[in-house]
């Protein structure tokens, strides 16, 4: 039995098509990079000014001048380019990134996303998340379906301060895949051996079933 994280990552990578320019957030999204088919030519963007992130360096390749947005040492792939922070966010804000995959704390049935602050806790900042959710052509949120207290993280309305309003295109959890459409939130896929009833039970938000409801593969 694979973990919830593994299942999310396995499903999320299917969003990425050959030739795409992709931004992966910190946490679960970063793990998606390892699962991209090796015959795909995908350029991974890093907000700090790199298009074409490569794998982590060998011990001998480490370069303090070459990090990703998570501040980890990385390498570059052939065809990579460097640019400054204004150009990096021109790329993001201007709609040139095909997909951004981000983690979430809460998603509402309107497609609102909250993933940057918890009132009462030290607020570390939103980094580039608010720019990414507004700018990327497609915003995919990946998160576990319920909190560690068993509460649904998919809400009628977010209780936490927002990162963006009506910005999520697709939500992937270990149990289900939802799309956010003009007609509201739609259940597109259910994980194997999971029932719609179970998903309804674990989801505070209202959703309808897609005409083409499928099993996650």
């Amino acid at each position: 039995m694979t973990s919830a994280k593994d299942r999310i990552v396995k499903r999320a990578v299917q969003e990425i098509e050959n030739g795409m320019n992709v931004n992966l957030g910190i946490g679960i999204p970063t793990l998606v990079a390892n699962e991209i088919p090796s015959d795909y030519q995908v350029l991974l963007q890093s907000e700090n000014g790199l298009l074409g992130i490569g794998p982590y360096p060998l011990e001998t390749e480490i370069d303090p001048d070459l990090i990703n947005a998570g501040k980890e040492t990385v390498t570059t792939v052939a065809g990579a380019s460097f640019f400054d922070s204004a150009d990096s966010f021109a790329m993001i804000r201007g709609g040139h990134i095909d997909i951004a995959i981000l983690g979430g704390m809460e998603v509402s049935e309107q497609g609102d996303l909250a993933n940057w602050m918890i009132p009462g806790k030290m607020v570390k900042g939103m980094g580039g998340a608010m720019d990414l959710v507004q700018g990327a052509k497609r915003v995919i949120v990946v998160m576990e379906h319920v909190s560690k207290y068993g509460e649904s993280k998919i809400k009628k309305t977010c209780t936490l301060p927002l990162t963006g309003q009506k910005v999520v295109h697709r939500l992937i959890t270990e149990l289900a895949v939802f799309d956010f459409t003009e007609q509201g939130m739609v259940l597109m896929e259910v994980a194997p051996h999971v029932t719609v009833a179970e998903i309804r039970e674990k989801t505070e938000a209202n959703f309808t079933l897609s005409e083409n409801l499928k099993i996650v593969t």
């Binding site: 460097f82 927002l162 963006g164």
Partner: protein, 235 residues
Amino acid sequence: MNKTEKTIHEILKGLKDDSTILVGGFGLCGIPEVAIEAICRSGAKNLTVVSNNCGVDDWGLGLLLANKQIKKMISSYVGENKIFEQQLLSGQLEVELTPQGTLAERIRAGGAGIPAFYTATGVGTPVAEGKPVKVYEGKDYIEERAIVGDFTFVKAWKADKLGNLVYRKTARNFNPIMATAGKITIAEVEEIVEVGELNPDEIHTPAVFVQHVILGDSSKKRIEKRTTRTEGVAG
């Protein structure tokens, strides 16, 4: 026009208390280390510091924090260090959190003589509070204002004596835009070359934006998160 003649200590005599300073870098990558240590020694107080992050406890801007020289930070992500949290919670330190792209664009606007611009970033979030909203083609945007600094401190790879700069890899980050947005811009570099040695097509920051060039010590560059793979593993 040799911009390498003054020491950082001579330059910093012009840095007054209550100044706004812009400091390049992302995390600990591409930060002007020597300049930051010199600002520490200068003792300038009540600084407003614009920088994407605020260093760690014992390095980068964390040194200015520890020295209680910072009144306010304008950043997109902070709190990688304990001193920051303590000063914030005790009310000694003020922080203005700005989305990273909005921060970058505000700095670019400052350097480019654009007083304000509109962006969708932050609409419907706490970031939008108190900011004018305008609708373009049916979509809401908020107005964001330019940032300029009294002093800017950037880190580049190479400079010529005229102040043309070239950056290296992701150490570029906020440095080129900040270089344009300081009334006085000081570039700390790893190598100073003669005028004419840099290829004009490859210069990232033209000399006009730089008032002083100082030589840094490239051996210290600290790494925040050392992540590696082992031989034979690609991902």
